[in-house]
Amino acid sequence: MKKTVFLGALTVAGLAAGVAAAGTLDDVKARGKLNCGVTTGLVGFAAPDANGEWAGFDVSICRAVAAAVLGDPSAVEFVPTTGKTRFTALASGEIDMLARNTTWTFSRDVDLKFTFVGVNYYDGQGFMVPKDLGVSSAKELDGATVCIQTGTTTELNLADFFRSNNISYEPVPIETNAEAQQQYLAGACDVYTTDASGLAATRATFEAPADHVLLPEIISKEPLGPLVRHGDNEWGDVVRWTLNAMVTAEELGVTSANIAEMSAGTDNPEINRLLGTEGTLGEMLGLSADWGKNAIMAGGNYGEVFAKNIGEETPIGLARGLNAQWTNGGLLYSPPFR
């Protein structure tokens, strides 16, 4: 690969990485690091802790992919992105995958040329109001002032909901969750709306969480999932099946606690294929045979990751709901590993 003089100088300065134009998978392997786009900070999904370590539900997906590809869950470079910059960052190759609670929509998939590899969280947009407002349904919100966190599909859903119910409202678009929350708590808006998971996460940090209620209406479908660029199907497969491996592991009862024991070989052929003791699934993906084992070891199976970051034991306290396994009445349904 011939580089221009300018880029040569930059590369000497260590500020630009000359990336071979081969597949993303080879790039990641050559680089030894996965560049994963995340949000700039949403507790439970992706936020740096006091020590500067990224943690959260989306972050775990990144780590699992890094573990599957590189065998090391810490070989991830987290790139914080805003609602504005995320798609460009992915399209221009700055990041290899985007796990930034991004809603899978038609236009993003088709028009913007991204491939959503699956859904890691089924969300929906909800409303939070102060309890003393005495509102029990979103349909009673005629004339209310609504704080919105911009940069997601939120604005559009909100407009659709109020229009279809023929009631009026006044939107106040706010850039960050922290500022929106300050506006809401100061009474500058009556309602705060964003994804229900985000509302729960926000309410968890209030001084008096019990003074605020989430309204029963969920006004949109928000399948959030990781996405990659169009046209690189090998890489898309890697991310897709890493996610599927986490889901399948929960379904089959493979946890980070028993995985060492199970990877010695079990009676269940699907577990064996998943963990690489049987079949050549890893080879087909262009990964090592134990890719699935590494991915699950990174943070546990889907259920463990959920419980650790956003589950009912955490301050965020989300129930599994739609995100339960299909066997438990949820929507998680991974294609079989065979």
């Binding site: 609602g83 504005k84 798609f87 460009t88 399209a91 221009s92 236009s107 993003r108 028009d111 913007l112 040329k113 003393d132 407002l133 919100l141 005629d142 004339g143 209310a144 002032t145 704080c147 911009t150 940069g151 997601t152 599909t153 604005e155 559009l156 909100l158 407009a159 659709d160 109020f162 229009r163 409202y169 006044e170 939107p171 106040v172 678009p173 706010i174 850039e175 500022e179 300050q182 506006q183 100061a186 009474g187 500058a188 808006c189 009556d190 660029r229 169009h230 046209g231």
Partner: protein, 404 residues
């Protein structure tokens, strides 16, 4: 006749392109043109290759598609079914509105602070110095966030007005200051109100005419007419008379607390107030410095000469010092106006729907058309800036010292 600088006549050599002053500038410009063309080709080629690789294209078709989101403050008709282009126009008008308001208020702040800083009252001049230094040395972004936070935290929400033990109340039952905005009574135009308005406009013309006449009389005959009280009388009396003659056609609609918010009256939204005030007080500090420098630039001799002619201090200021100081003040003042317009792009921090928030914010997020949106955004600001620059140039030419 030949001089020594005349170039030797003779055959053209290639080295003359660089060494001969006749050709050198042409050569250099040719090189520059080639470099420019190469750079444009290189960048354009990269963009084309990148977009082709991603299967994307530059397409402004999204502007005609319904935007799908609502905007809280709109000066023209707009619903969520309007196009992205219309959303951009709503944003442009909002930008222009806040820029205009902030320029006005910043000028008031700046002139006040600049004049007070030169006051011989020690504590006031020091206070103004603190104000100027504090605002000039802290980023506008931090000020915007701080002022927005102060506003929402200090002003009561509409909920505080409700109930028996309301913690806040309306001023004169007509003005409500909430952290969602300020609500004012709105005029209700009844029959015959047109006459009152026309009378009012005519009386403004009358005031200007009277002032002109007084100045002319002063210059022609030296007789001085009182201006302040007569102007005031011409300004108010006819309108008030006409108002009662027509049977008080203009009423007021008071804002009332209904449902979640105040209804009726005029609402000035909280985000608008926050960004308006923040930009004004920030830029006011810069304008104060311009005003101070302008006044100090007028040499002391001018003041003394005017005093020697027997002018009172107020007239020295208005007739001698200010006209000269304005020459120094106005060009940087206009460039400060330009800064206000550009800084209004930070309105997204307070949730104000300016053009950066609509076209460069929500539209960009929703359509993902980053290149197109950013290009349009830059084009808009460029047009505004160039128009303001043109105004500066016209003014500079007009006030150029006419040397005789």
């Amino acid at each position: 006749m030949t001089t020594i600088t005349d170039p030797p006549q003779g055959s053209f050599r290639l080295s003359m392109l660089l060494s001969d002053t006749r050709y050198r500038s042409l050569t250099l410009q040719a090189i520059a043109a080639i470099c420019l063309a190469l750079a444009i080709w290189y960048l354009g080629n990269n963009v084309a290759k990148n977009l082709a690789k991603l299967g994307l294209n530059i397409d402004f078709g999204f502007l005609g598609v319904p935007a799908g989101y609502d905007i809280n403050q709109r000066l023209i008709e707009y619903t969520s079914q309007s196009t992205n282009l219309r959303a951009a126009f709503v944003g442009i008008l909002n930008t222009l509105l806040v820029a205009f308001l902030a320029c006005t208020l910043a000028t008031i702040f700046g002139v006040l602070a600049g004049v007070l800083r030169l006051s011989n009252n020690w504590i006031v001049s020091k206070l103004m110095a603190v104000y100027v230094e504090l605002f000039r040395n802290i980023p506008v972004l931090i000020w915007i966030v701080i002022i927005f936070t102060i506003m929402t935290a200090v002003l009561p929400g509409p909920r505080a007005f409700r109930g028996d033990e309301a913690t806040a109340s309306m001023l004169f039952d007509a003005f409500a200051f909430t952290n969602r905005g300020i609500y004012l009574p709105a005029p209700v135009w009844g029959a015959g109100s047109m006459v009152v308005v026309v009378t009012f406009l005519l009386s403004i013309v009358g005031v200007i005419g009277y002032r002109r006449y007084a100045t002319k009389l002063l210059y022609d005959t030296g007789r001085m007419l009182p201006t302040f009280l007569p102007s005031l009388a011409i300004f108010f009396l006819p309108t008030i008379l006409m108002f009662f003659i027509m049977g008080m056609p203009i009423g007021l609609e008071y804002p009332e607390l209904k449902g979640f918010n105040f209804k009726g009256g005029i609402k000035i939204g909280g985000p608008l107030i926050a960004i308006w005030f923040a930009l004004s007080i920030y830029t006011g500090a810069f304008i104060a410095e311009n005003v101070r420098a302008g006044i100090q630039a007028v040499s002391k001799g001018q003041t003394e000469a005017a005093a020697a002619l027997g002018l009172r201090s107020g007239r020295i200021m208005s007739l001698v010092v200010l006209p000269q100081a304005l020459r120094v003040i106005i060009p940087p003042l206009i460039s400060n106006y330009l800064n206000i317009t550009k800084n209004s792009s930070l309105a997204i921090l307070v949730g104000y729907a300016d053009v950066t928030a609509t076209l460069g914010g929500i539209t960009l997020n929703q359509t993902g058309r980053a290149i197109e949106c950013v290009l349009l955004l830059m084009l808009f600001y460029l047009v505004i800036s160039l128009s303001i620059s043109a105004v500066i140039n016209v003014y500079n030419n007009a006030i150029k010292l006419k040397e005789r």
